[in-house]
Amino acid sequence: MLAKTSETTTVETPSAKKIATRDAYGEALVQLGGERDDIVVLDADLSGSTRTKGFSKAFPERFFNMGVAEANMMGTAAGLAAMGKTVFASSFAMFAAGKAWEQIRQSICVPKLDVKICASHAGLTVGEDGKSHQMLEDLTIMGVLPNMTVIVPADAVEARGAVRAAAELEGPVYVRLSRAPTPIVLPDGHTFEPGVGTTLREGADVAIVACGVEVGAALEAAGLLAADGVEARVINMATVKPLDEDLLCRAARECGAVLTAEEHQVRGGLGSAVSDLLARTTPVPMDMVGVDDTFGESGTAEELLVRFGLDGASLAKRARTLIERKS
């Protein structure tokens, strides 16, 4: 069972330090490998990019490059897990989740095996590679699978914790990682707990619930809103499944409006999950920031976040409009 206590830390503005969550993954994996000899890592010819290369160097006997064959990688991971291993399987999110969905369902989720899919290069911030590589649908197709836990770390600090938590959690876990270096938004020493959201900033005019890179954007938006006297509560919902329901319901009650933000299709991801919960329990005016039923395009990570309305200024604007809908 996942613990259900929420913690509050106060972080005013994102720090200037930038580290990609995939880098944190690579480091955490090496550390874990040193502690537990049941950890096995698979990759599909992207070990340099996904950062499993560090593990492959440190523990070559427990690393298997599966070549460009993601479906077989997931099945192999299942077989290893069925024999008692804890398996990390990595590729780009597009191919790990997209290409091998049915294998993940049949061979990993149905038998509830300890396979931890750590998928990097998720979302628009892949950048210049463009739409073929910008996975914007993974939270939908991973989150809908029974037995699957879905985690989107907000920064490198949280990614480290998420990787450790994934190793300890029973059953399949999907961890969504980014290519682009992003600011550290959580305090050093922050401990990630699966299923537990973090309130990063207090406020009662609107709650902004975000995951991944959008947590930084949400904090930026809250700063802009504060300049106008609007106090936004900022919640980092790193575990997209299962949601921290208590924290969300309380935020809806106390703020009276909820804005979600994610680097993902607006339908089927965090926003959908939050609206699904609140519609059943605590209906309040809501808006959802995400990519609106379109594919991405080439550009730098930062340009793309602005282009698709996922930057702090865009979030602030959407929050202002949402607040006007409060009765």
Partner: protein, 275 residues
């Protein structure tokens, strides 16, 4: 190694019981897939009786052998064999495909019942078997991993991804038995989508590959013995079989891939099987 007459007799009896159970289970369920298991009965019985280290006594030994049924729709046969190996009572077979039964319409992994993997989606089994073989090797276990597959399943691309990687990693503890009956749902495999020479294909992928008459238990046993002494590569045994073997009106008829016998058909089938 040659099968003793007693061993051979035992295998033949077990295979006959697989056919009887398959008819009774699918008849009782009113649905299911009788054709495949009846064709596979002889080579699967040879595997389970003469080779596979899995029974009521070693079920929970981590280093026992494993069995992955890639062509999961043929699970009536698997369940019959597991019960015949003393892993669960024969009466449980009557619950096949019924609400609440652990004997699901396609295998659901259940360590208590010796069901080693969830399957049903064709193409997934060989990859899982390869993963198990890797784990066994990492752990220094003597486990052999057996995967059942089929001609229809060989149309799946994932099979060839798995074949590539199993050979690359030299998984000599992995053995696939392919039920080659030239039948799939929509008819004759050669007409639907000809997979051609599977022995040559597996060989080209770097496997030790042989072709046998899947109803000749001596030949199957010989191939399984050969696979066990092949120490540098995985083994494939292409078993030529007749779908529905043992019941005249079922043999070689794609219509019996996934249709249960009615009362009259079941009675006739059981009579032909000597019940």
């Amino acid at each position: 190694m040659v099968l003793t007459p007693e061993r051979k007799h035992e295998i033949e009896q077990v295979a006959r019981q697989v056919r009887i159970d398959t008819i009774e289970m699918t008849h009782a369920a009113g649905c299911g897939h009788p054709g495949g298991p009846m064709g596979m009965a002889d080579f699967m019985a040879t595997l389970f009786i003469a080779h596979l280290r899995l029974d009521g006594g070693n079920l929970h030994d981590p280093d026992r052998d494993r069995m992955v049924l890639g062509n999961g729709h043929t699970c009536a046969g698997l369940y019959s064999l597991l019960s015949q190996k003393g892993i669960f009572p024969h009466e449980l077979l009557a619950t096949f495909r019924k609400l609440g039964s652990p004997l699901q319409g396609h295998p659901h992994r259940n360590p208590e019942l010796g069901i080693d993997m969830s399957t049903g989606s064709l193409g997934t089994g060989l990859s899982v078997g390869a993963g198990m073989a890797l784990a066994a090797r990492l752990n220094g276990w003597g486990s052999r991993i057996y995967v059942a597959s089929s001609d229809g399943e060989s149309q799946e691309g994932q099979i060839w991804e798995a074949a590539t990687s199993a050979a690359h990693y030299g998984l000599s503890n992995l053995c696939v038995l392919v039920d080659f009956n030239n039948i799939q749902i929509d008819g004759v495999m050669r007409e639907v989508m000809d997979v051609r020479d599977l022995r040559a294909k597996y060989e080209a992928f770097g496997w030790h590959a042989v072709e046998v008459d899947g109803h000749d238990v001596d030949a199957v046993d010989g191939a399984l013995c050969e696979a066990r002494v092949t120490d540098d590569r995985p083994s494939a045994i292409i078993c030529h079989t007749t779908l529905g073997k043992g019941v005249s009106f079922m043999e070689n008829d794609a219509g019996w891939h996934g249709v249960a016998p009615d009362d009259e058909q079941a009675t006739q089938a059981l009579a032909e099987l000597g019940v």
